[in-house]
């Protein structure tokens, strides 16, 4: 177990460094960040300022050196300032993180609440109408392009029926009406995947010897399904959770664009378009960090649920 955790830890570091280094190098290839200082409509900047900025940002040094400086700053807790408006990157990320997390969490709950029970239902009542409904739901979820789904939801529920608002996340902590469409858009694919995985592993487990034994003992149907089969069938969907999160990161950029949510995905997208490297690398660091952290938790949970992994 200890070795397992250590290995996972090194993997996490490796992933974080890899992702930020790639972004950092690419941002340097995209152009000179000093152009962001020469503001539009201003008077440009003088040659001395240009040169001193070059020294300040370390542009005369090799990329790997610059990356090292950035990394050192991050380790010291200094996330630097955005180049475009000189605001603290950490502050910006803190502002933009809650909407993304809220929508992500809502989508995850949606995916679990819809996907897993529907998967169980579809496996238990195999071949019934419920099975067909569930599989149809999964089918659509896996093939619908996220962005198109979002636009069509807006067309139907905001433009035509005028039931749901769009364009903001509403006032206050949580106004559910604003969350419905982003949640469904982001969560549908995930719930489809959960549904398929739950269904197939549930079918497999229901067919196993120990379930047959439980049935032969005369255990009630409900107890067989939920106590004997369900716990074991949950392993496959659970391992998938971390891949789900990568999907959410991609999805966050798209849904936040469509529904004009002031979230982290949008921040990253804007920063990339501006070549604002402190924000760019910062957001990529946060996204990768979330992925890696979530992956780690999944691994631990996985080991907790399945003793074969714990003792291997």
């Amino acid at each position: 177990m200890q070795r397992f955790i250590i290995r996972r830890f090194f993997f996490a570091i490796f992933a974080l460094v890899g992702a930020t280094l790639i972004t950092f190098a690419l941002s340097r290839m995209a152009g000179d960040p000093r152009f962001l200082y020469a503001q539009e409509g201003g008077y440009g900047i003088t040659q001395e300022r240009w040169d001193s900025l070059g020294v300040e940002l370390g542009l005369d040094k090799p990329i790997i050196w610059q990356y090292g400086v950035w990394l050192g700053n991050i380790l010291k807790g200094n996330w630097q300032d955005s180049l475009l408006d000189r605001k603290s990157v950490l502050g910006k990320i803190k502002n933009r993180l809650p909407p993304t997390l809220k929508v992500g969490l809502a989508s995850y709950l949606f995916a679990s609440i819809i996907g897993i029970p529907l998967g169980v239902l579809s496996a238990v009542k195999r071949g019934s109408v419920w099975d067909y409904i569930a599989r149809g739901f999964a089918l659509f979820g896996q093939a619908l392009p996220v962005f198109w789904l979002g636009i069509m939801l807006i067309l139907i529920f905001s433009v035509q029926l005028r039931w749901l608002p769009t364009g903001t996340l509403g006032e206050g902590m949580f106004s559910w009406k604003h969350y419905v469409m982003p949640t469904v858009t982001l969560g549908w694919i995930a719930s489809a995947t959960y549904l398929r995985l739950t269904r197939s592993s549930m079918l497999e487990v229901l067919d196993s010897e120990y379930v047959k034994l439980a049935r032969a003992k005369g255990v009630s149907n409900n107890a067989v399904i939920w106590k004997h089969a369900f716990r074991n069938a949950l392993i496959a969907p659970l391992t998938f959770s971390s891949l789900l999160l990568t999907g959410f990161i991609t999805g966050a950029v798209v849904t936040e664009t469509i529904f004009s949510i002031p979230g982290l995905g949008r921040l990253a997208f804007e920063a990339i378009n501006n070549n604002d490297f402190p924000i760019m690398v910062g957001t990529v660091l946060v996204f990768t960090g979330m992925y890696v952290g979530f992956n780690f938790i999944t691994d631990l949970l996985y080991a907790y649920i399945d003793p074969r992994i714990r003792y291997a």
Partner: protein, 359 residues
């Protein structure tokens, strides 16, 4: 039970006595006819896009901006009182009946273009009308390009992009999987960790950075998608190789003195082909979706080349007035990806019983 009864009963069980609708339904469930038909149509339109498209997909006709599909009733674009220089800055799409009611103009919706204009003139108004024609079956987009032609050419773009990126991803992924599985040890560990890290990268963000850094060209998009497509091949081929390399015939080939390269290509690779085909089919759908997302975010195929994802994005700003601009390309993406998923699942059941999902 008599022999005849048993035979009839068996026939019922295996479904050979179905008739009519039951038989059709049985065939549709058993064979992927509809998905394959959709894919054949896709490939056909992709190859013969030049001959099939009724219009040039790139030339814009400003007069046809947001032209509705052919089955739509005519719409009034803007109306101004005669003599007054007031002009509406944006097209106001008013259904003809609504417009008539607003200005109290007696219209039924069945009038010809001239009649509509005449009716407005009688009320002292100048109307600019837009009449959907069968010449543009699906209408036109926000700058007046024929939608159907763009969709047809978009099929070609999707096809080329996915085919090339999939093949390159497949070659890289399969060879890495072969090497990792066969040699094991440090090489295996390194390749698998790289694959893990790769899966953890926020791909879309990095792809956008790459496009901005290196420019938005077809080659770069192909490279990016190839970089996305190789991972599942590595994992599955490696797993396959781990079992195959223990088999007797491989050991025998070694004894005979076959080179490592020969063993890998002629003795182990053929055993992985089924897995590779299945993964490739399922992966194409993912690639099409990713390409569409990148195009949607403006980091995909450079405009004005028609790409389905970019077309959906084009219509986003006009969703109130012209839903068809976004709707039809999205339906195409959906149909193609769904067909590929169906076909992939079917292939998996056929070719690789070990991967079979219980259905």
């Amino acid at each position: 039970m008599a022999q005849a009864d048993i035979t009839a009963d068996l026939a019922k069980q295996v479904g050979s006595d179905r008739s009519g609708v039951g038989q059709v339904w049985y065939i549709i469930r058993r064979w992927p006819i509809i998905p394959v038909a959709i894919l054949v149509v896709l490939i056909f339109t992709g190859i013969f896009a030049n001959f099939l498209a009724p219009h040039n997909p790139i030339i814009a006709r400003p007069d046809d901006r947001n032209l509705p599909p052919a089955w739509y009733s005519p719409i009034v674009l803007n109306v101004k009182p005669t003599g007054d220089p007031l002009v509406f800055p944006v097209p106001v799409n008013v259904g003809i009946k609504e417009a008539g009611a607003l200005y109290d103009i007696p219209l039924t919706g069945d009038e010809t273009e001239e009649q509509v204009v005449a009716a407005f003139e009688a009320a002292g108004l100048v109307a600019k009308t837009k009449f959907p024609t069968w010449n543009h079956i699906l209408g036109a987009d926000h700058i007046g390009r024929d939608l159907l032609s763009r969709i047809i050419h978009g099929a070609r773009v999707s096809l080329t992009v996915t085919a090339i990126s999939l093949v390159s991803g497949l070659l890289v992924g399969v060879s890495m999987g072969l090497v990792a599985g066969y040699f094991g040890g440090f090489l295996d560990e390194a390749i698998m960790r790289i694959t893990d890290v790769w899966l953890g990268l926020p791909f879309i963000l990095i792809a956008i950075v790459v496009v901005i850094a290196l420019g938005q060209t077809m080659t770069i998009l192909l490279g990016l998608l190839a970089l996305l497509s190789w991972t599942p091949f590595v994992r599955n081929v490696r797993g396959e190789v781990l079992t195959l390399k223990e088999l007797d015939y491989v050991a025998l080939a070694k004894v005979v003195g076959a080179s490592t390269f020969r063993i890998l290509i002629w003795h182990i690779l053929p055993g992985c082909i089924n897995t590779v085909i299945v993964i490739a089919t399922l992966r194409v759908g993912q690639l099409i979706l990713t390409e569409a997302i990148l195009s949607f975010l403006g980091a995909g195929i450079p405009p004005p080349t028609p790409a389905w994802g970019a077309m959906v994005n084009d219509g986003r700003a006009f969703i109130n007035d012209a839903w068809w601009v976004s709707f039809f390309p999205g339906v195409c993406i959906f149909l193609v990806v769904m067909s590929l998923n169906f076909f992939g699942d079917w292939l998996r059941d056929r070719l690789d019983p070990r991967l079979r999902q219980l259905n």
